[in-house]
Amino acid sequence: MTIARLYLSNDTSSKAAGADRLAKLLEEPTDVQLVRTSSRGAFYLEPMIERDAPSGRVAWTNITEADLEHVLAGQGGVSIDSIPYLTRQTRVTFANFGITEPLALDEYQSRGGFKGLEAALAMAPEAIIQELKVSRLRGRGGAAFPVWSKWEAARQTDADQKYVVVNADEGDAGTYCDRMVMEGDPFRLIEGILICAHAIGAAKGYIYCRQEYPAAARVMRAAIQKADEAELLELDGRTFSIEVVLGAGSYVCGEETALLESLEGRRGIVRAKPPYPAVSGLYQRPTIVSNVLTFATLPSVLARGGAWYASLGTEGSRGTIALQIGGRVKQPGLVEVPFGMTLRQVLEEFGGGMAEGAKCKAVQVGGPLGSLFPESKLDIPICYDAFANAGAILGHGGIVVYDDSTDMVDLARHFMAFTSDESCGKCTPCRIGSVRSRELLELIQRGGAQASDLALLADLGDTMKATSLCALGGRAPYPVMTAMEHFAKEFSSKLMRQS
């Protein structure tokens, strides 16, 4: 009897699209071996089942229970290599996605896993930091700070203890690449943590994972245990311990100092900087706090060299970026490409245009604090500089497309209500500014506002931008201000008639 080897993603979003229902049905046939992999990120095609074929994998996409007989009989299907959404990407950090079983350590190693750590261990810490300088890798969490610079500060600070902290509090709505990394390629994250620990001389690591990601926490804990059993956590003569710690639903805990407060068990309130965490972080010790994606990028940088990584992307934005397309597009999903494509290209070539019957009204990049772009402004290259010049942010790479049924005043109110809910309360501009802005937007919505209220809202926004302690208050006005700028009529039409 020939056994058919089938591959089905075990990612949370794949399950939400119905993967588990199919998996249950595939338990029965005895001639089927089902492998639960990570997801390729082409979620618009899921649930999707793949089979081995002489020419590579073949996929059956958007399948229902009724389609299973074709899969089992090997009838139909499309070659993975014929799906432009996948072939047009440059997969570096996401090279294993859809191919391997997340917790299969041997598969990770056979595909080049732990080669980056191997290279790092053969280098002096200073040489690793130099390699990162050459790579020009910038933090992928949102602030885009040069990675080498933080590491150098932590390396050079004398302390009895240093820490590596993974920011896995992926709170920006519209982003999910950190979740995918933790659920889909956990050993890559572990490898990145170990590279950092070796470079700065840390002996303990934490993964601060948001509570909304239970599967990610589960997979990470299992992977840490496997790595420990395989003695892969042995670092510079001792065992490097990594602990997964859960958050409790506070968005601002994604800000690095609030995260550290939360990790220490207190209210997640932002600390004033300096001192920066690299000098005085967790329990006042030098601490590298970086995003999941930043750590997951390190193995490739070290294995293939900083110069190779720097050869990808644009002048100020080297390497690849993980974009997460969501909202009213035909083809939502994860896309990894070198920096430099325009937003319009990404939405057309990968997003596949708007969903059936929808017309594009606005595109938001960078989560709930990201600026809005009207349809006419989408020809902006996706890189840090172009976005900074436009007063926008790439943030964590989330792209959400809104259709023409969207009420921009209501959307602006939604953003400001979010900030007023999530403000930690430490600084006045954010704590009070967000509440007053929300109230003004509610007044506009009710038809009770005058033109002077719009001016007041803009003024409040400027104050928040200039004087807030962290990016939550400092960025919160941007989606509201850009909505007011690009959709001014929607706001003015709701003003009270002057008699």
Binding site: E212, G326, P332, V400, D403
Partner: protein, 148 residues
């Protein structure tokens, strides 16, 4: 001891006296953190009741009252917003209101959540640990019926 009073609380807290992790552990086993347990928690951790209450009230996911048998969380993140999640929320509220007169009225606790990272198959509804994607308002009754 006046010097004790001015000592910043962060220095007074040893790493092991982790208030947040203690509260998360209590909620994981009991479903919520009863307010009457605060003095006991504070005493065991060697911190003040105000320290514990401060953490308990800061984090949206920590609750002080027991939830229903099933917690239904509706995602209000941007991708779900773009895909009209308010209509899904209304459908869920309508369903639960309709059923609340029945004897299992406390079956469901409805909460809003800001993104569970399921943006590519939105709108999203999470029932307990199950993430449901591409949820349409009309499918809500059948979806929740499975949990009653």
């Amino acid at each position: 001891m006046p010097h004790e009073l001015i000592k910043p609380s962060r220095l007074a807290l040893p790493p092991e006296a982790n208030i947040l992790r203690t509260l998360i552990a209590i909620q994981a086993s009991d479903g919520y953190v009863p307010l009457e347990t605060l003095p006991d928690i504070a005493a065991r951790l060697g911190v003040t009741e105000a320290d514990v209450a401060g953490v308990l009230t800061y984090y949206p996911d920590l609750r002080t009252t027991p939830p229903g048998r099933h917690v239904v969380r509706v995602c209000m993140g941007e991708s779900c917003m773009a895909n009209h999640c308010p209509a899904v929320l209304h459908a869920i509220e309508a369903y639960v209101r309709l059923k609340s007169g029945e004897k299992d009225g406390n079956t469901f606790t409805i909460e809003k959540v800001y993104c569970v990272g399921n943006c590519a198959v939105s709108p999203t509804v999470v029932v307990d640990q199950d993430v449901h994607g591409r949820v349409q308002p009309l499918e809500v009754p059948a979806l929740l019926e499975r949990y009653r």
